[in-house]
């Protein structure tokens, strides 16, 4: 219904545009005085008002009415079953909704049928109210702006003010997203820490990760939420990835910026871009189907036991994924070292290699470090490769041949697992929050570094 209404408001806006434009043209043709704004701006002004009034009321009335219905029904359910837990009330409500919609519900009894009837009734009223309010507001908005058309009416300036406000709102959505992320993560994180009585050290330094096994009446066993093995596993895989990606990416960038001929560059750069464009799930498949069995068989051939979900396989493939990231960022940085520095060094008789090692790289170092920091933050946040190729069990080890698990793997395991969503959300969102904070810090550090570096040469 919301979609139909949305479309209807759009149609109304188009109608308002045409009507107002025609009226403005007629006013213009009547020739009492020159119009301040061109007729199409009068049309635009009306259309904008229809949209703003219609969509605004649509959103507010839908959300408000839904909230009202939910809270009313929840109250009624709570009165009917005063001693049942809150979660059961919610279940009854969602079942009643399912019954009212003719879908399959988890159970059916007198109360559910009753609530379903009430819901159906209220739902009908809500639909009528929402439709009436939305269309009313849209038509009202259109009519007001239609009636105000006159030669002096500053339709262009007024619509431009609206447009500017609209632009600001769009730009602010990025901030809203961040706020949304922070709020949603913090809410569950606080709940989780409440459940373990704020024993933060148990979470950060504990070595047993099995958060769902110790759940009892909203409390969690603080001894079983030790995320250290996850951090260690993430670190191990990230380290292996960096051991692959940093040398390869850096040498590739140096080669491409200072040694390679134009032809080589024209093949090598797109190749690295292809590597960068491959979805991570494909890397995960590659790691699980090709690299991991290869490592295991090689290990077997030389008499070393390599786990089939070894940290090495995931790390190597993640390293391959990050090569283009490092090489393109370092390439930019190396290229932005002023040519005068190189010329000076070459003029003093240094070879190209000496220039690179002793002049270009030191000058580019902050940029390269920031590239590596960004790459690390990419690696610890990477999900699919480790979900498909790394282990599930929290295993505290520094041996790259064994299976380890990571923060992201555990988030996926918790959210997609069979445990009730509200229980699994606590540890999952807390891990997500940790991940968010870590990557945020690393990004800020990287940006700080780059900013300082720019000051030196520009």
């Amino acid at each position: 219904m919301v979609f139909t209404l949305f479309a209807l408001v759009l149609v109304l806006a188009a109608a308002a545009y045409l009507a107002s434009r025609n009226r403005a043209a007629r006013v213009d043709a009547a020739g009492d005085a020159a119009l301040h704004s061109r007729p199409s701006y009068h049309g635009l002004h009306s259309a904008l008002w229809v949209l703003m009034a219609g969509l605004g009321v649509l959103v507010i009335s839908t959300v408000g009415a839904t909230w009202f219905i939910t809270s009313t029904l929840m109250n009624e359910i709570a009165q009917a079953r005063p001693d049942a837990p809150h979660i059961e009330h919610q279940l009854i409500l969602s079942d009643a909704r399912a019954i009212a919609d003719g879908r399959i519900s988890s159970g059916s009894d007198v109360l559910r049928e009753q609530v379903a009837d009430r819901f159906a009734g209220l739902d009908r009223i809500r639909n009528v109210v929402v439709i009436a309010l939305t269309l009313g507001a849209a038509i009202l908005g259109g009519a007001l702006s239609y009636l105000s058309i006159s030669p002096e009416w500053r339709a262009r300036n007024r619509s431009e003010t609206v447009i500017r406000a609209g632009l600001l709102v769009m730009a602010v959505i990025a901030i809203l997203t961040t706020i949304g992320i922070v709020l949603s993560l913090i809410f569950e994180t606080v709940r989780f820490f409440n459940a373990i009585d704020w024993q933060l050290h148990k979470f950060i330094f504990g070595t047993t990760w099995s958060p769902l096994s110790g759940v009892f009446e909203g409390k969690m066993d603080a001894e079983k939420v030790g995320a250290l093995p996850l951090f260690a596993g993430t670190l191990l895989i990230t380290l292996i990835a960096m051991l692959v990606a940093v040398p390869v990416g850096l040498f590739a960038a140096i080669f491409l910026s200072d040694f390679a001929s134009k032809t080589v560059r024209s093949y090598a750069k797109p190749m690295l871009e292809i590597l960068a464009g491959i979805p991570t799930v494909v890397y995960g498949f590659f790691a699980a189907i090709t690299v991991a069995p290869f490592l295991r068989d090689t290990g077997e051939a030389i008499g070393i036991r390599v786990a089939s979900e070894s940290a090495l396989a995931a790390g190597i493939v993640m390293g391959i994924m990050i090569i283009p990231f490092i090489s393109s960022l370092s390439d930019d940085v190396i290229n932005s070292v002023p040519q005068s520095l190189r010329d000076g060094s070459l003029g003093l008789g240094a070879t190209k290699a000496e220039t690179i090692r002793q002049v270009v790289l030191p000058a580019a170092l902050p940029g390269i470090v920031s590239a590596v920091l960004l790459a690390i933050s990419r690696a610890i946040g990477e999900t699919m490769i480790v979900v498909m190729a790394a282990g599930q069990g929290a295993n505290l080890t520094a041996n790259p041949l064994e299976a380890v698990t990571t923060v992201t793997v555990q988030i996926v395991a918790l959210i997609t697992g069979d445990t009730e969503a509200s229980t699994a959300a606590g540890p999952a969102f807390t891990l997500g929050f940790t991940l968010f904070v870590l990557t945020l810090l690393m990004n800020m550090a990287a940006q700080r570094l780059v900013a300082r570096y720019r000051e030196r040469y520009d």
């Binding site: 990025a174 464009g277 498949f285 590659f286 189907i289 070879t351 999900t383 699919m384």
Partner: protein, 599 residues
């Protein structure tokens, strides 16, 4: 080429040679330069090799999903068996007992397939979905009930894999003698050949025994390690009880080791035994004979004689026949999904010319299924399309308008600065965190339906927003100020200058950035898993609020399934995904080439 570069430096009339002659240091410095260059070449080589290995492994895997096999067979649509008549309504006909009919048809072909195991194995030749297809066909044409028709039954995944050579091909052992087969007193078949045709097979069997013995000895050697660890632990144990327990474990490990060694020795003795007959079990290679219009499997083999059991019907006895073939299969029966009996059936069907191989178009027209031979990507493709629609219609306008604000209207103050920092940081937030945001805010607070393209599209839109804003800002910044100044000079307002003059010129750049952002979103998996798009969905989604899955998530799900045939399908789905990504990037490149202007 190395020569020419070496000769270029001494330009400008400077005699390099004489300077360097005394020290040899120049040589060293040149070597250092050469090394650095080589490291660069190696690095590029490593990246290229990784790319080739990745694409190579995907394409090789995917090539096994290009075709599918059918068993072509005559079938009589017996109304008694299916329990419906031509007058029954079509939807009831489609649901009739065509499974029984198909089973009866196969049993009529291979009457020896009695007993539960054989019956099950026979049933596994044809896909479980074939009888449903037959049902649909009959429902569409009820007049066929009671008639005999030719129908193409979809082969099962194991049959398909066998026919594609996944379990190793049968090797013709090139027998030259005359074959005699008769039934012995104990029910076993006595097989003999006029020359030593089974000698080679016997050697292979013995060779296999040696290999088994070897792997047993390797296992025994590993037990040695366990013994050592437990003994060490026993020495370090704090309590007598613990020490005792560790010692017991060490003892049992040693006993196990001894067992393994004994077993290996027994195998080796068997293999070394001079010229006796050798038993062939399912851990060893398979030796099969095609003769007398059917198939036999050897259970015991000597140079010229053997014991055998029937796999399909054979007209017995066979006397001094030269019309026979001896086959061996290297992979032991226990190690492959297709049994000897199934091989015999499939080969019989193949000899009768009733196996048909066609292009696997089903892969694009079918939705997901738990049976690999029936699974397709149509649902995921439509899901991806719907999700991308939502993502585009949200991210593109918001991103472009936001970028216009930041570039054209934003005053330079702390607030705009904050927005900028924010966008840069948002671009580097791990995608899984966006998934958590979607789960907590859009699913739980706003009540967007779970697993729906709407939810996925919103999450991906928020994720691609920073990419689009950053690209759009760069494109807008690249439009020279003279354009804007000219517009303002002839009396345009700021808004008019931006929307009528700057934006159209920046559009190609913005579209390029948007397409690249959309390509990222198309390949994204993790956030969609968070909002429940991993569910098993058989229906092709019809709208953005239906449950759906998308291509990359389909890849993830399939890669988790144990059936071998899914591996090829996963790789094929990856290929489709990559084709889309390549297309999108090509469009971006063309846009950039054709419309990008440099001022």
């Amino acid at each position: 080429m190395a020569d020419s570069t070496a000769q270029t430096p001494p330009s400008g009339g400077f005699d390099h040679g004489s300077l360097a002659a005394g020290s040899g240091r120049l040589k060293q410095r040149r070597a250092a330069e050469f090394r650095l260059k080589m490291y660069g070449i190696i690095a590029i080589g490593v990246a290229a090799a990784a790319l080739v290995a990745l694409l190579g492994s995907v394409v090789t895997q995917a090539s096994k999903a290009v075709t599918e096999h059918y068993v072509v067979s005559e079938i009589t649509i017996d109304p008694e068996v299916i329990g419906v008549t031509a007058e029954t309504p079509p939807d009831e006909i489609a649901r009739a007992q065509f499974g029984d009919l198909t089973e009866a048809m196969m049993e009529a072909q291979f009457p020896r397939a009695t007993g539960r195991t054989a019956g099950r194995e026979l049933g596994e030749i044809i896909s479980g979905g074939a009888s449903f297809e037959l049902g649909d066909r009959i429902a569409a044409e009820p007049g066929l009930i009671g008639e005999t028709m030719t129908f193409e039954f979809l082969a099962s995944d194991t049959t398909d894999l066998y026919l594609k050579g996944e379990f190793g091909a049968l090797r013709d052992a090139e027998a030259s003698g005359l074959l005699t087969v008769f039934e012995g007193d104990d029910g076993d078949l006595r097989v003999s050949s006029s020359s030593n045709d089974f000698g080679a097979a016997l050697r292979q069997v013995k060779q296999h025994l040696y290999e088994d013995a070897d792997s047993l000895r390797t296992k025994a050697a590993r037990q040695e390690n366990a013994v050592r660890v437990y003994t060490e632990r026993a020495e370090k144990a704090d309590s007598e009880e613990d020490r005792q327990r560790q010692l017991e474990k060490a003892e049992s490990a040693r006993a196990k080791q001894q067992d393994l060694i004994d077993e290996a020795a027994a195998l080796e003795r068997r293999a070394a035994g001079a010229s006796g007959a050798e038993k062939v079990d399912d851990e060893n290679i398979s030796i099969m004979i095609k003769a007398g219009g059917g198939w036999m499997r050897l259970t015991e083999v000597n140079r010229a004689t053997a014991k055998a059991e029937l796999l399909t019907r054979v007209s017995l006895p066979i006397e001094n026949s030269d019309d026979w073939t001896l086959y061996t299969s290297e992979l032991p029966e226990a190690d492959r999904k297709v049994t000897d009996r199934q091989i015999a059936w499939i080969e019989t069907l193949r000899d009768q010319g009733r196996i048909k191989e066609t292009l696997n178009t089903r892969f694009f027209t079918a939705a997901d299924s738990r049976a690999p031979e029936l699974a397709g990507i149509r649902g995921a493709l439509v899901g991806s399309l719907l999700t991308m629609l939502v993502t585009f219609s949200l991210a593109f306008p918001i991103g472009v308008l936001g970028a216009i604000y930041l570039e054209e209207f934003a005053p330079k103050n702390r607030f705009t600065n904050f927005i900028e920092v924010n966008i840069n940081n948002l671009a580097a937030v791990p995608s899984i965190v966006f998934g958590l945001l979607g789960l907590a805010v859009f699913l739980n607070v706003f009540g967007v339906p779970r697993s729906a393209p709407l939810a996925g599209g919103i999450v991906l839109a928020l994720m691609t927003l920073p990419t689009i804003i950053i690209a759009a800002r760069a494109a807008i910044r690249a439009v020279p100020p003279s354009i804007r100044d000219a517009a303002l000079g002839v009396g345009a307002s700021n808004v008019q200058a931006s929307f009528h003059h700057v934006l159209p010129l920046a559009m190609p750049g913005i579209l390029t950035g948007t397409i690249i952002g959309m390509a990222q979103a198309l390949g994204e998996t993790a956030p969609l898993i968070m909002i429940g798009m991993v569910a098993f969905i058989v229906e092709v989604p019809g709208s953005i609020t239906d449950s759906a899955t998308v291509l990359p998530v389909q890849v993830f799900r399939w890669s988790d399934f144990p059936e071998r045939a899914f591996e090829a399908r996963t790789a094929a789905a990856i290929c489709v995904l990559l084709v889309f990504l390549v297309l999108m990037n090509l469009i971006a490149i063309i846009l950039r080439r054709r419309f990008e202007r440099r001022w």
